[in-house]
């Protein structure tokens, strides 16, 4: 019975991506080797309440998929809603929102090093959301409106600084942290969205400024030294891309370009993804040059018939080390998703199925 199920799902999996894939991917259920091969990790958020957040691994040497490598190596699940991950030296830090923790694993074998609980004094979940790192410290923003230091060597929590409401994302630029305060949990209450970016000095761990950027700021990333870019979502009908000069901490530019996610291609260009809800859910993956004043964009994907296969581009990760662009597809938020792989020129390379709601990719060379 069980074997049959497995066999069927295997067939289903093979069939479902066999058509497009240029490589033969198989699911590997053998015990994990001591040291992982080359490939990439995919963090899949999972479906809320199902405890099925998953760290998957793609072995690019043998084209094998290891689903839920965290569970396989550690005999326990990752938790509920893995929201973000970053690497620091040999470690990967995974913020698991529902499970109120940051899981720290060894990047070479997937072994759990430490689970750091992220709760307040009363034991309530702070809801760890996004991570970023300086040369010597890991920073975590939490939905309860704080930024926490995590010492990446001792793996202990350090100082904590209060920011705005329901931070959505965090990045570092010019030795300062930039935190987008979305206020998302107040979207239907009189308080409404937050509209600020908190600026934190990482030496003193104090908030030095709140920059007003507009309702519901979301993803924020450093575009080039001294410049960060962020998506300001508003009520989703007027999504903007804005830039902040991190020397002056002033808004520089605003572009009326709707997008769900982006990553930085080079000092001048970003690749962004959007789904046009007013136009038959059409997916767009574009390159945008933010150094000009125009809102002109060009298609990133050069291969035909690929863009329309991406149902819901949930995350974009550009890896300079592997020269690849990974676009995660969360499908309709209720089915297992996949990752589309391209080279930096936008040529389609691969499509691999993973777990529920893939959102983030880290390459292991």
């Amino acid at each position: 019975m069980r074997k049959n199920k497995l066999f069927l799902s295997l067939i289903a999996l093979v069939l479902s991506f066999g058509f497009v894939s240029c490589t033969e991917d198989t699911i590997d259920n053998k015990p994990i080797q001591e040291v992982l091969p080359k490939g990439y990790f995919v963090l899949c958020e999972g479906i809320y309440g199902h405890n099925n957040s998953s760290l998957d691994f793609y072995d690019s040497d043998s084209n094998k998929i290891i689903l839920d490598i965290f569970n396989k190596v550690n005999s326990q699940g990752l938790g509920d809603t893995g929201n973000d991950m970053i690497e620091f030296n040999d470690y990967i830090f995974i913020a698991v929102k529902g499970s109120a923790c940051v899981q720290v694993i060894n990047k070479n074998n997937g072994k759990l090093i430490k689970r750091i609980p992220i709760v307040d004094n009363s034991g309530t979940n702070r809801m760890p959301s996004r991570l970023c790192a300086s040369a010597s410290m890991v920073f975590l923003c939490t939905v309860d409106g704080n930024v926490l230091e995590i010492n990446p060597y001792s793996l202990n929590l350090g100082r904590i600084v209060k920011v705005g409401r329901n931070p959505e994302d965090i990045c570092i630029s010019n030795d300062k942290l930039y935190v987008t305060n979305s206020g998302g949990l107040d979207f239907n209450s009189p308080a409404g969205y937050d509209k600020t970016v908190s600026v934190i000095n990482i030496i003193s761990m104090t908030e030095i400024k709140k920059i007003e950027v507009g309702d519901n700021p979301a993803i924020i990333k450093e575009l080039s030294p001294g410049l960060v870019g962020l998506i300001v979502k508003g009520d989703y009908s007027n999504i903007m891309f804005k830039t902040i000069n991190t020397f002056t901490d002033q808004l520089v530019d605003s572009f009326e370009i709707p997008m769900l996610s982006f990553d930085v291609l080079d000092n001048m260009n970003i690749i962004f993804a959007n789904v046009d809800y007013n136009n038959n859910m059409e997916t767009k993956i574009k390159i945008f040059n933010h150094t000009t004043n125009s809102t002109n964009t060009i298609d990133f994907i050069t291969s035909s018939n690929i863009t329309s296969q991406i149902v819901l581009p949930y995350g974009i990760d550009i890896s300079i080390s592997s020269n690849e662009v990974y676009i995660t597809d969360a499908d309709d938020f209720s089915k297992t998703g996949r990752v589309f792989v391209f080279d930096l020129q936008g040529n389609y390379k691969d499509k691999v199925n993973f777990s529920y709601l893939p959102s983030k990719v880290i390459v292991r060379n």
Binding site: R2, N51, S75, Q76, V96, V143, G184, L185, N188
Partner: protein, 669 residues
């Protein structure tokens, strides 16, 4: 292991009728046949049982349950979605159609929740229940409200009404139970015959439990994944129900039934068991108050009239002390009101052929001071014209139902009007009064709920009703057996095909906070329900009842051929499930055993191993004994639920209680 149980179950189902065939055939005729049409009750005819499933008072008395939600599990074709514990939400989905398609009729009038569209059966205590009946399609009673015809299936709950000897005027039953996890229940049912016209029945019931049951938390689906022993937290429940009924029977021609009902509950919502963080601050308060009246008048043998009235007020308060909003908590309140009136007339055109016309008019509103949309209002009119031909051998029943609904909310300035005609038709034929074969077809829909329309999304959507079509073949074998007093055997088999179109589903859009509700997809359902009941009166002192049910449900997503979930079994519908009830009754002691078995099912639309929920079986036993003190009778009962301590989940990450004990004392005054 689960195969063995399944085989046993099938064996019982198969053997029990054979047992009957093997005996000499006797010509005792079913006594139910000769009953005349009485104004007060559902018409008795061998065919009226078509597709109906009944749990009678004997069974309700003998099995240990707290709510009607626990009882519903014993009806074939019913999936109870149970979130665990006494305070856990329990909704039914019948034959894969979804819980919004079941009407719940409490003592003759529908119970509604226009906000969610589903009725939580954990709110109905089983202490004062006489019987429950599930009618797939609809029941054949002629004097029923149109609302009872306006759903894919109807779940009738009927409360206990005392019958008095000529000398008696006062009857009281006191009931108290205590059990594991600080469970305590105290109930009183007091009936008073005021005079020859009026009888009053007061029923009060209090339940309380801390709900802190132990469970095993699994950290993964693999066998060697770690586990930890945990205690369910924030799972407490307190409930009070008070009902006052007044029955008036003026003469042979008219009677009236009045009811005042009040329900209050407070409970913790323990949430799903989240790995590494088990902490919930969510609470829920419910309050319900309604008045209802059913007046029946028989103008002549041909013409009868009935009127149903109801006024309902309900209040729900959800509070989350740990929500990360700017207030530091989340607090949502919902107020619902309903004003309901039905008039129904039935006229017998000639012998065996009658017609009836039923009209319901009702106004529902929902208001919520904390949410975007503050009020939503719906005016509905349901009118049903029914024809019934019934000569005790052949039964033909058909009706056409007209629905007119007008919606208005403070979100939209214009009101939406919906206008529909829905047909129902059935044929039945009874051979020798033992074998009945019948067929029905029903085409019905459900309206989008207030939640679907107004409380879950950003922009207004234009939702269509969700349509169901049902085709059913019912074969029932019923006979009395001559070998002991009045033993009987009853086997029924239903084969059905259902379709759900324009299914209303909530899908996250843009991000996981903002959901849209859309009409999406189709569900195809093929299934079999098998129910057997065997009653034997073995000697003067020993009675035996064996009842078994088995359901097969193939409920598949037929929405989009391109989708990976096309052809997949939809979540939370087991392919196989079944129940067994066995009762041995002897003056010295009464013994009951129940088993409910649910096969594996999926927690998400994709039928992959990761989403598989393990099958489970829940065995329970009860023993009870009557003691007599002077004039009073005392019944003492002991039960053990989930005897094997199976650690199972009906809904993923909502563990069910393991082994529990209860002691029940009933005093008849």
């Amino acid at each position: 292991m689960r195969n063995i149980v399944l085989i046993n179950l099938l064996l019982v189902l198969i053997i029990s009728p054979l047992f009957g065939f093997a005996q000499t055939i006797d010509s005792i005729k079913s006594t139910t046949l000769k009953e005349v049409m009485i104004v007060d009750t559902i018409k008795r005819s061998p065919i009226k049982k078509e597709s109906s499933s009944r749990i009678d008072n004997t069974m309700i008395e003998k099995i240990e349950t707290v709510s009607v939600g626990d009882l519903a599990k014993f009806i074939a074709g019913v999936n109870v979605k149970d979130y665990g514990g006494i305070g856990g939400l329990k909704t039914i989905s019948v034959r894969g159609l979804g819980s919004n398609h079941s009407a719940v009729i409490y003592d003759g009038i529908g119970v509604t929740d226009f906000q969610t569209g589903q009725v939580d059966l954990s709110k109905f205590s089983s202490t004062n229940i006489k019987e429950i009946n599930l009618y797939n399609g609809q029941s054949y009673s002629h004097l029923q409200p149109a609302r009872a015809l306006a759903s894919s299936n109807a779940f009738f709950i009927e409360t206990l009404k005392p019958s008095f000897d000529s000398s008696e005027r006062f009857k009281t039953i006191l009931k108290t139970s205590y059990g594991s996890f600080n469970y305590a229940n105290l109930g009183v049912n007091s009936a008073f015959k005021i005079n020859n016209i009026w009888t009053s029945v007061l029923d009060l019931d209090i339940n309380n439990t801390s709900g802190n049951y132990p469970y095993l938390l699994h950290y993964g689906n693999n066998e060697n994944d770690s586990t930890s022993k945990e205690i369910r937290k924030n799972s407490d429940y307190f409930g009070f129900r008070g009902e006052w009924n007044l029955f008036g029977s003026f003469n042979a021609k008219s009677d009236i039934k009045l009811k005042a009902y009040y329900f209050y509950s407070e409970r913790g919502l323990p949430m799903s068991t989240t790995l590494y963080y088990l902490n919930s601050g969510q609470r829920l308060w419910d309050e319900n108050f309604f008045l209802q009246s059913i007046f029946t008048h028989k103008f002549s043998d041909k013409l009868q009239y009935r009127n149903h009235l109801k006024a309902l007020y309900s209040y729900t308060h959800y509070y989350d002390s740990k929500a990360l909003t700017s207030l530091g908590y989340q607090s949502d309140e919902y107020f619902q009101r309903e004003y309901y009136m039905n008039n129904v007339v039935s006229y017998s055109i000639f012998k065996d052929f009658s017609t009836s016309l039923s009209n319901d008019v009702f106004l529902n509103n929902l208001s919520s001071p904390n949410i975007f949309v503050r009020t939503a209002r719906r005016v509905s009119s349901l009118s049903a014209l029914s024809l019934l031909y019934d000569n005790s051998k052949l039964l033909i029943n058909g009706n056409i139902l007209h629905t007119l609904v007008e919606d208005k909310s403070d979100l939209s300035s214009t009101s939406q009007i919906k206008n529909h005609f829905s047909p129902f038709i059935s044929f039945g034929y009874s051979f020798q009064n033992t074998l009945t074969i019948s067929l029905f077809y029903k085409d019905i829909f459900r309206m989008p709920t207030f939640n679907d329309l107004y409380f879950n999304k950003v922009s207004e959507s234009k939702l269509r009703p969700e349509i169901t079509k049902q085709f059913n073949l019912h074969i029932e074998y019923l006979r009395s057996l001559g070998f002991y007093k009045t033993s009987s055997i009853n086997v029924s088999l239903d084969i059905y095909h259902n379709r759900v179109k324009d299914k209303i589903v909530a899908v996250p859009q843009r991000n996981l906070f903002i959901w849209s509700v859309i009409n999406y997809g189709q569900v195809n359902i093929n299934g079999i329900d098998l129910q057997t009941m065997f009653k034997a009166y073995i000697s003067h002192s020993i009675d035996l009842i064996i009842r078994g049910t088995y359901s097969y449900q193939r409920v598949v997503d037929a929405s989009n051929k391109e989708s990976v979930t096309y052809g997949n079994q939809i979540p939370y519908t087991p392919l196989h499930s079944g129940t067994l009830f066995l009762n041995l009754s002897h003056p010295f002691i009464d013994f009951s055993y129940t088993l409910s078995f649910v096969g594996s099912r999926y927690s998400l639309p994709e039928n992959i191993e990761r989403n598989l929920l393990k099958p489970y079986q829940d065995h329970s036993i009860s023993i009870s004994k009557d003691f007599n003190f002077k004039k009073q009778k005392i019944n003492l009962g002991l039960s053990c639920l989930n005897l094997l301590g199976d650690n199972y989940e009906v809904v993923i990450n909502y563990p069910m209680p393991q082994r529990q004990f209860r002691i029940n004392i009933k005093i008849y005054l």
